[in-house]
Symmetry: D2
Subunit: 343 residues, 4 copies
């Protein structure tokens, strides 16, 4: 039997706007048990009046969803709203001095033109916030007061190829990346669409938005190029499969010169040596390996004499792909342990 | 190498009203390959203008769904409509001398009061057609021109207990039947309800309408009693589980005297000796055993000295529980092989 | 922002014998994050030499499985072994003054004859430990040094009917209970049996051991009667369905007199008023509602004028049905918050 | 009502060696209802003595599996054996003048060196049979007496890219093909491996044999090049996902010059204009679209100005990927309707 140290902690008050969707529910679950946080309000327009427990009994949370009316009672606000809605709410929250983490695509893209092309919405040039991918922008996040949380597909792809683009001079020139990513159906949100029903999706796989998915410019931006004027050929085929959670990405990268698989693995390990939630694995990863965790698993599966490399990544789309990464960003902003509430 | 006999066949023309739901699609599949039938029109209001192949590519059927406007061009009409709609259409079809098989609950119940209680609809006392359960009413079906096709749960339950009620004087007195039946989610129809989405139903089971399901009076009627004045205690708990097709029923029957399990099996085998689609099995049955077949598997699993008997039945809800049984009824009405197009 | 109190905690050292199965892995997950526990050794014969992370990457636990050789280094031992093995190991652990929680069926039954009938093993009459169902035996558990953790099906059934049997004089006389319970496939253990493969179990349901399941005497014992000389008719039909985790039980109880559904609900609420992990719910429960939680949800779904009652319960078979309940028992034995590490 | 023509048919006798696996069971199902075939013997060593119905009740086939002992009673033999076994049996069958269709990889590769590298087995240079892909080699198949049926992944990939390689001079030069294919778990056979259990594979996806799968040389051979000395860069990432049946392939082809998507679609339609089981579709295909059919669906999903093309294909791995294609080959060899027994 051992006696632990005495612990003293400060609790920040947190509220969620858009708390009734799947990402909102995961945020609720994580924040309820986060040791340095006190979850205060759950805002959700369509479910206003219902309790979180009614919609998600596994949460066992009696808080009542309320319509958001501009309240600023909390220290920190997470926004998990449909694309376009955060654009309206964030300015006032920042004005009131709040810390903001937005899970939508509204503030991710620096290029207004690309935002308009891929999201079919206009936005002003200053509607950009620090891109909350801790493994790439840790210091920026530490210094920020407002974070745009990455997209789920984007997370699984950027983390899978970043070391080749950002980590090393030697392989900087990729000629092409082909990405095929399968997402769990929860990625489409809490939805009543016929094509997402159990009867349609059990035993099924379906590709969609091939070459046109809105995470494309986000990925290109993070890799130092752009969707409209890319420095390499990029093809992205998103799919949904017969699973609720998870994203499994196969990343085929064509380098401009041959690479030894062990050299690549070494590069990745070095690149992510301080990243608590990236695991560079020697053996194949699976969706199940990261299920209900905040990890991104990366396995360099294959490399050929012609410079072709196959990288496999796995994340839980609702955690590292959404709510988990959002909490990780909050931890970094607050200067507390990056893994707090996430292990 | 053998040479088969020369075959000559007559083809009946058939149309489906309500062809775009799951039962309608199964009817389409079965009738397209039925050797004595020519599938003519597919009527479906909400999908009018689309082809069957657009909605169900596996059918590979280029017919275009049309809104039904009172046409009577075919010999036989199958109706696979939401409850209440067939009540409006059937009289004119019968007036025009057509053969009709209705898959809804509209014409199943003789008791207008029970119909109103369980379906929340009024109907006239003569809105009753021959109950199309071939294993019980083969001769009536043979002589009929209009058939009310049984409900899916009802089929799995009635076939599972009928021999004890209708087959033998000895065990005629059942004191109680408790039924728990798990259905595939396709039983809820081609639907966009959130609670039937993959994200909600994967890894899930949900009971509903406990004690109040509309198949209750249908079951009681077939067993020679009634829901309002039952001659034994009847409890029915329907569930949906994480599967698309199938119904698995556990039937706990309390007899008024002990029964040897082998005697019961013998009774069932005798009762169903001429039923090509009922298999009384010595070993446990599973949903998979009847998947995409018209069989109803029955296994007498347990019998105690106190007269308690456990019977397990399995059907495919879209076949023996809907489209398959409907085609079986058509075959009987036409005087052709009962199994034609169903093996 | 609020400042929390200073906290001081004592940590008990804990080891798991049989750590590589699904229950062992859940114990590992729970104990790794339990605030008052330090997880020390993971014993697992067949996986000796592998790390927990190799077998269960989601655990992210680098401990190496070791073969158990009689070590007694920890304060508390959890045993999650195949039936029969704990019988050999527990005496020495108790002799060494250790706290023991056994998840197998070895020490559950007081009747040696029933143990031999249902487990096909002999055991000595003193091989019985306190039955670890906190909602029934909280004080006994508090005082015990060795706990036999309940079976998964047994938990879902006993909790579902206990108030009717143990909670109130009025309805003490049940004439019959029919139970049908569907378990997730993880209940069969980490297994390579063909009949548990994805290809066989997807879209499937299968009943087994109808009337002969080994949890039968455990249930009867907890309800104050016995399997060999029962005071009421008891039928139990276990099933496995197409889900990994969860048990969903439909309990049909025939009382000797009519009961109002609201009276029963009141009785249940009163009976479980101090039970933090039992939720008596007014609306239907589902497997998903308790997924990855230690809750047992209970819904009184139906009651008739003839005294027939339908109760629906849901648990996660690996948590309230195994590892979660085991940790709950540990918490009670240690005198710490019953919910510690479980919310 | 219409009267059909008089029909006369010849029946060939057929037997299956290796009838108890999933491909063998699908062959059994197809051949039992094939109008020009009489299914005679089901050979299966490990299941000898059991009936087909015991193993696959949905087949409702009372034939008893027998160990194969060199019998030659049938006109046609299908072999669905583990790799390596057909090599031993086929010579005697051919010697006896039998028609042979082998579903294994034993006779697919012309290169003995590649066979040894990918199958870890030696074979003689004459152990090659006509490659049974009807859409490419219809005339050869028509003239053949022995067919090597294509692999499941190979079918979904070759059909997806063949027109670009074999159909047109213009795009003959592909610089690279990246294939990611997800297979249903039945592709791994009727197996009791832990990693294929429901508990491991539900909600999971797993890549394997990246860059080393044995279908690689088969694909390269069909495309007119070789695995050891390829004329373009080829990367293949096979996966299994949480579904029983189906293969979904995403084929990223890098052409040496830009292509208009409509030109490619036109090329594909022209290339497959006589292929009854290939459907070039304008809209996205899904696994469900070809479920339990012999179709290969192909959708040209994307084409860029840089010459990158994304092609999506879907097949049922047990039908077009195995048993269905085998029957299609038989139909062609017999000179009967290519679709007989397959619609």
């Amino acid at each position: 039997m051992t006696v632990s140290d005495t612990v003293s902690s400060t609790k920040y008050s947190v509220s969620i706007i858009g708390a009734s969707g799947y990402s909102g529910a995961e945020l609720t679950r994580l924040l309820l048990k986060h040791p340095q946080v006190e979850l205060r309000e759950l805002y959700a327009f369509s479910q206003a009046g219902n309790s979180a427990s009614e919609l998600y009994p596994a949460l066992s949370c009696d808080k009542i969803y309320k319509p958001y009316g501009g309240e600023t009672e909390s220290d920190i606000y997470f926004l998990a709203l449909p694309h376009g809605e955060a654009l309206q709410l964030v300015p006032a929250l920042l004005q009131a001095g709040k810390t903001v983490i937005d899970l939508s695509g509204d503030f991710r893209l620096k290029s207004v033109a690309e935002h308009e092309q891929f999201y079919k919405q206009t936005k002003s040039p200053d509607a950009v916030m620090t891109y909350g991918m801790p493994e790439l922008y840790h210091d920026d996040i530490r210094a920020a007061r407002a974070i745009s949380n990455p997209g789920c597909f984007a997370t699984s792809i950027i983390l899978g190829v970043a070391p080749l683009f950002l980590g090393n001079e030697r392989w900087k020139k990729a000629l092409a990346i082909n990405c095929t990513s399968t997402s769990g159906i929860s990625g489409a949100g809490r939805s009543g669409k016929t094509e997402l029903s159990f009867s349609e999706m059990s035993e099924n796989i379906r590709a969609y938005k091939v070459g046109t998915h809105q995470h494309t410019p986000e990925i290109m931006q993070a890799l130092g190029t752009s969707a409209t004027s890319p420095s390499f050929d990029f093809t992205f085929t998103p799919m949904i499969g017969a699973l609720v959670r998870g994203i499994y990405s196969i990343l085929n990268v064509q380098l401009d010169s041959p690479a030894e698989i062990e050299d690549i693995r070494r590069l990745y390990r070095e690149f992510y040596r301080n990243a608590p939630f990236v695991r560079v694995r020697d053996t194949m990863t699976e969706v199940k390996h990261v299920y209900r965790t905040n990890y991104c698993d990366i396995h360099i599966a294959h490399a050929t004499a012609s410079g072709s490399v196959v990288i496999v990544t796995a994340i839980d789309n609702l955690l590292k792909g959404a709510a988990g990464q959002a909490v990780q960003n909050m931890n970094i902003m607050l200067g507390i342990d990056e893994t707090s509430g996430l292990l």
